[in-house]
Symmetry: C2
């Protein structure tokens, strides 16, 4: 029995936009099983924009990746060896030892999937970090309610497409932005009342046309000109949930805002959040999201890359809009 | 009896920084007294940065000034004629018909001063719009509490100097920024734990030195690089009360933010406000602020200009830092 697993290691820290040269496929040690531990073989790996922040040597809400060590991220796998009560060989688990083929660790580091009739990879998507981020950001951080007009950027992305569908399931009016006609069409298919192709027209122009009376909620995945357009169109007491600012993850010019002063006149409330702020409410999330998936109100779409080798490129493609819906790697 | 009063009229709307050419001294009609009305002669006029916004033809939280009509603003005066029960000749009142010598109107448009042992002009300063803005922004919008480290920009200004003193009266740690060594020294005299002269060093550098553990609250009067420095130094769950962004009132380059993405990691909550959002709590304000003024915990300083003629220049000087404390015009 080998004590290593094939894994993607961080070879070097990127300066600006990362490249495949920042990653190295190698062998990572697998700690031997102790009492209470599991060994898992991964079937699905998640790549997510937030991982870009962990490539920098900056303390943030999660510690930075270490150079020379395996990267981490969401993964779904099967238990192949168990020394932990309650876990049997063949159980499906989701956990954070992604970017590699196999993982060992104490059972607390692995979550058994809930008894819901969904495909395994959904535990990385609408029932995972992605869906929880959409759910808590929209309903808790932004306190969106039925009568609200909601604007969500990157609405054809993993989180954004979940926001669109949760908002519609809750009876809100939803406007989504996406880059390209195909993606905008899919956002409309998801139920959005309007979809703006920001590659075809300036986002501010599109948003003013789609929401002539303004917006009550903005779910921000992009920052930059999208956030500025939200400042420009915010109604009184609008709430902005700041989930991500993919525009800025790879450096470049700092974001400039022409309309930020509207924060005062419109009494806009802006709040950053991470889904882990709401772990105590995960029960609500599984109940609601499980129900919406079961009755078809929340659908998923995946962009699937094949094989461990494809993981870095799958990750990099997130920043050029290479995904529609959730980007996944199938092992 | 004349039916007009000398008043400053808006002659034209400024494009960028206003000049004295945008103002015209003229005669404004005074509506004849009806039952329930007062006639007041003004002794003190207030000029405030927010008035710049009203010079634009843009609907905001207060309607724009009209070209050819008198400007409006805070004023303190004496009742010279009363047809309203409860108001006697000689009563001191504060009201919003400033930029002129005399005013008439229904008694509801005038407020009798409270029975507090303060000079009349304080009803335009620490007991007026200025003090109420500081009080509610710090204690309500930002929910600042005793253990917090508070950063306030334009701390030698009318609102900022009140924020410094309220925060110290409440036992907080306070860092203020001001432009110039004299102003910074006065901010320290007010009780601030540290004062940054942003003309002597970059605000971010000064703030990192003054608050090595970061800030919990930012009271923003400036926007721009001050707001960006607050993003950079915010501790987890910091609260920003956005009161003003004097950096942007006269146009120029849109504000660029290098550190805005910290909103997510630090879960910063940002909220715009106007003191009128808290009118229902004015009783708390008069009780607390009256007490602090009486016991010397809140002091005032004024930059006083003489005569109605000086009003436009007094207003314009707000944007070049011509005032320390509250800028007033004495008639």
């Amino acid at each position: 029995m080998t004590d290593t697993t094939r894994a993607w290691l961080l070879k070097s820290r990127p300066n600006g936009m990362p490249t495949t040269d920042n990653f190295e496929l190698g062998d990572a040690p697998l700690a031997p099983l102790q009492d209470g531990w599991l060994r898992v073989e991964n079937n699905w790996l998640s790549v997510d924009p937030y991982m870009r922040g962990r490539m920098n040597d900056v303390k943030s809400y999660v510690p930075p990746f270490e150079v020379g060590a395996p990267l981490q991220g969401g993964a779904v796998g099967k238990v192949v060896e168990s020394r932990a009560p309650g876990f049997a060989v063949g159980d499906t688990v989701f956990h954070m030892q992604g970017w590699r083929e196999a993982a060992t660790g104490p059972a607390e580091a692995f979550n058994k999937v809930q008894p819901l009739p969904v495909e395994d990879h959904q535990w990385l998507g609408n029932l995972g970090l992605t869906g929880a981020t959409a759910y808590f950001g929209l309903l808790r951080t932004a306190e969106a309610k039925e009568s609200d007009t909601v604007f969500v950027s990157a609405a054809a992305g993993a989180v954004g497409s979940a926001v669109v569908q949760i908002a519609k399931a809750k009876g809100m009016t939803v406007i989504g932005s996406a880059g390209g006609a195909d993606k905008a069409a899919w956002v409309k298919d998801l139920g959005a009342d309007a979809a703006i192709d920001y590659k075809a027209e300036p986002i501010l122009k599109g948003l003013m046309a789609a929401a002539p009376k303004g917006i009550d909620v903005y779910f921000d995945n992009v920052g930059g000109d999208h956030l500025d357009a939200a400042f420009a169109t915010a109604r009184n007491n609008a709430r902005f949930a700041i989930c991500g600012m993919i525009d800025s993850y790879n450096g470049g010019e700092p974001a400039a805002f022409r309309f930020i002063m509207r924060v005062i006149a419109a009494r806009i409330a802006i709040k950053g959040f991470i889904y882990t702020d709401y772990l105590a409410e995960l029960g609500d999330f599984y109940r609601d999201m499980g129900g919406w998936i079961a009755n078809g109100q929340v659908k998923s779409r995946e962009t699937v890359r094949e094989g461990l080798e494809s993981t870095p490129q799958a990750f990099l493609d997130l920043f050029s809009g290479g995904n529609t819906g959730k980007m996944l790697v199938r092992l």
